[in-house]
């Protein structure tokens, strides 16, 4: 097993550009409120990672209920919106239209460009060593245009799954089997990740790789901030723990090739939200943040990554 960490800081403002952040948040809250109006039609869910029914209430956030799985500690929303409701949220709301607008794209372009290059640097070696490299890459997302551009420079043309993945539909080209499937920041949003990952498994060649990144349910930022975390409930319905992700992959038939938490923003997120919401956190965190410098934060962040305790997870499954 291998674990990936990141050395060096990304400024969180690149991911949340201040010039659009207020507008984005306001629209997003309206879209959430619109979703909540339909909560009588929300559906109950078992643990999206291990399918266990045993759970305890974790917290409520903006009217949405989050549960903690008693088996794998994955945090998940239940009851939750249906795929149709999510389609409205992402595609038809003001918020949905805004995140697809040119303004939003432009504001995020520097971050997305850098991110796409790094994602491509992971995908290309994986594809080159595949016995089925001619079968190509399946990208489970409608919005990876930047990544597609970077891959195109290496003469790789990925196929995008259509329609949007919150429909759990990952079958864009019938019987075609891919060498690699990539799902960056998708699985936390899916109403039924178990069904989605089973379909991905079917779409891969033997020894094919699924590479995915998700917001972690066992990251320092989430465990410290809990209900105060910077969650967008509808977009973070499944917060897999490292253990839960392993179970999700194995249930679908994958063997786990890598589980890493290369997130490098935990300390920045905790500091920002603590200040914004005037929180008093646990004794250790308060002492640490009040008395230690940026160098210590960087070291601590490195420890979190290496110990699989950071805010974002990278997982690779291999089809047996």
């Amino acid at each position: 097993m291998k674990r990936t960490t990141i050395v060096g800081i990304t400024d969180e403002s690149l991911i949340h550009p201040p010039e659009i952040f207020a507008e984005l948040s306001a629209r997003q809250r309206l879209a959430e409120a619109s979703l909540l109006k339909q909560q009588n039609h929300f559906i109950q869910s078992n643990c999206p990672a291990c399918a266990a029914a045993k759970r305890e209430f974790a917290f409520a956030r903006s009217g949405f209920s989050f549960q903690s799985c008693q088996v794998c500690q994955t945090l998940y929303m239940s009851p939750r919106p249906t795929a149709n409701m999510l389609h409205e949220y992402y595609e038809q709301s003001d918020y949905g239209r805004f995140i697809q607008s040119a303004d939003h794209e432009t504001a995020l372009a520097p971050f997305r460009k850098d991110q796409a290059r790094k994602q491509a640097d992971k995908l290309i070696p994986l594809l080159q060593k595949s016995d089925h490299r001619e079968n190509g890459i399946l990208l489970l997302a409608p919005k990876h245009t930047m990544l597609a551009e970077v891959l195109a420079a290496d003469a790789i043309t990925p196929v995008h799954s259509k329609p949007a993945p919150w429909h759990d539909d990952v079958d864009p080209q019938g019987d075609r089997k891919y060498a690699i499937a990539a799902a960056f920041d998708i699985f936390e949003r899916l109403p039924d990740p178990g069904t989605a990952i089973a379909k991905v498994y079917q779409q891969l060649s033997t020894n094919g790789h699924l590479i995915l990144s998700v917001r972690s349910g066992s990251g320092y930022d989430l465990l410290t901030l809990w209900q105060h975390s910077d969650l967008k409930p509808a977009e973070h319905m499944n917060l897999f723990t490292v253990e839960g992700m392993s179970l999700l992959m194995e249930r679908a038939g994958f063997s786990v090739g890598e589980l890493s938490t290369p997130g490098h923003l935990d300390l920045q997120i905790v500091k920002r939200i603590r200040a914004q919401k005037h929180l008093k956190l646990d004794r250790f965190t308060e002492y640490f943040l009040n008395n230690r410098n940026d160098f210590a934060s960087e070291q601590f962040q490195g420890f979190l990554q290496k110990s699989l305790l950071s805010s974002h997870m990278l997982a690779v499954g291999v089809k047996n």
Binding site: R3, T5, I6, G8, P125
Partner: protein, 352 residues
């Protein structure tokens, strides 16, 4: 100088016979490691071993034990022979085993001289149906394999230079062990350990180094062989590799840095049974030329930790796969061994 007979052997091996039957010649530390790998597999049975000290085979009570290897390399019920003896004896045993129709896996180095590997290759050519592999197991470490994938994928362009440090501290009995006896070993730390780094230089840079400069010295230990070697190697296409192989590295160290046109890949540490070479880590990054000023920021690096070392298992698996499927050996070939030996002796010859 002993010579090998180069007449083709009448093979006792039937390709369809599975599981294969294996013997190990030399049951020191490395021989025992190979034995444990073999006993964990179901396509091969570890049936016999030879060692001048038969008590070294005590952990394997069910096998046939000989004190003379001749009985095993000629035994009709043996298909594959693993050679883990001192450098002095390995070439003769490899040649004898090939002549008797055995597939052979031999630990590095493949003898004490270039002539040793050349006569092994003559025996190999006379028996083209047999498989011969050498134990350059570093190629089967996960960090090395990942680095090779990255280099091959071309994401960072071509390799410009490599810088390798491989060192150990010797130990309390360092002056007495066979590895520092010129008669048994043929070379010092460079031939014993540095050869792995030279093999990796070849693995990543292609390996046709034709310009060599070096210092080869005995700096500390009371031995007649070298305890430190420093070398600069250059290919005709101007790629340069820099080596320091040391037996006075008081904390064990493995470090291989690869600089490519658009980024870098550094291997820091390598997993071993004692973990004395530290964790096995691959650090890589794309060069960062985005700054508008002359001061480019340090690139954001990805650091990959590898928790397991299955290099011995993977290496044996690759060898047995070549035997079972009658396909060419893919890594640790006699050509690889010859190339590494030419570099070792090129560095000795270039010493100033």
């Amino acid at each position: 100088m002993p010579t090998c007979h180069t007449t083709p052997a009448s093979s006792a091996f039937s390709r369809s016979r599975l599981p294969l039957r294996a013997a190990i010649i030399g049951m020191g530390k490395v021989g025992k490691t190979r034995a444990r790998v073999l006993t964990a597999r179901d396509d091969v049975v570890f049936v016999a071993a030879a060692d001048i000290d038969p008590s070294k085979c005590a952990d394997f009570p069910d096998i046939r034990v000989e004190t003379d290897h001749h009985a095993l390399v000629s035994a009709p019920d043996i298909d594959v022979v693993f050679v883990a003896t001192t450098n002095k004896f390995a070439p003769d045993i490899v040649c004898a085993a090939l002549e008797h129709g055995k597939h052979v896996f031999c630990e590095k180095p493949p003898g004490r001289t270039i002539a040793d590997i050349e006569r092994i290759m003559a025996a190999e050519r006379a028996n083209p149906h047999l498989k011969l592999q050498f134990g350059f197991n570093h190629r089967f470490h996960y960090a090395v394999m990942e680095a090779r994938n990255m280099v091959d994928s071309g994401i960072y362009g071509k390799v410009l230079w490599a810088r390798g440090v491989y060192g150990k501290m010797g130990g309390a009995d360092f002056e007495q062990i066979w590895r520092n006896d010129p008669e048994e070993a043929g070379g010092g730390i460079l031939l014993d350990q540095g050869i792995h780094m030279l093999d990796l230089f070849c693995y990543f840079l292609g390996g046709d180094f034709n310009d060599i400069q070096s210092f080869v010295q005995t700096m500390h230990w009371k031995i007649s062989l070298e305890d430190n070697a420093f070398a600069l190697l250059r290919t005709p296409t101007q790629q340069v590799a820099m080596l320091h192989s040391s037996a006075t590295q008081w904390r064990h160290k493995f470090s291989l840095e690869l600089c490519l046109e658009d980024g870098y890949i550094n291997l820091e540490g390598i997993l071993s049974s004692t973990r004395s070479y530290g964790e096995e880590i691959l650090v890589h990054a794309r060069k960062n030329m985005t700054a508008n000023t002359g001061l480019c920021p340090a690139p954001q690096e990805e650091k990959i930790f590898f928790d397991d070392d299955h290099s011995w298992e993977l290496e044996v698996a690759a060898f047995l796969e070549a035997v079972k499927t009658d396909t060419p050996v893919s890594s640790g070939t006699s050509d690889d061994a010859l190339r590494a030996m030419r570099l070792v002796f090129g560095i000795y010859a270039a010493r100033r």
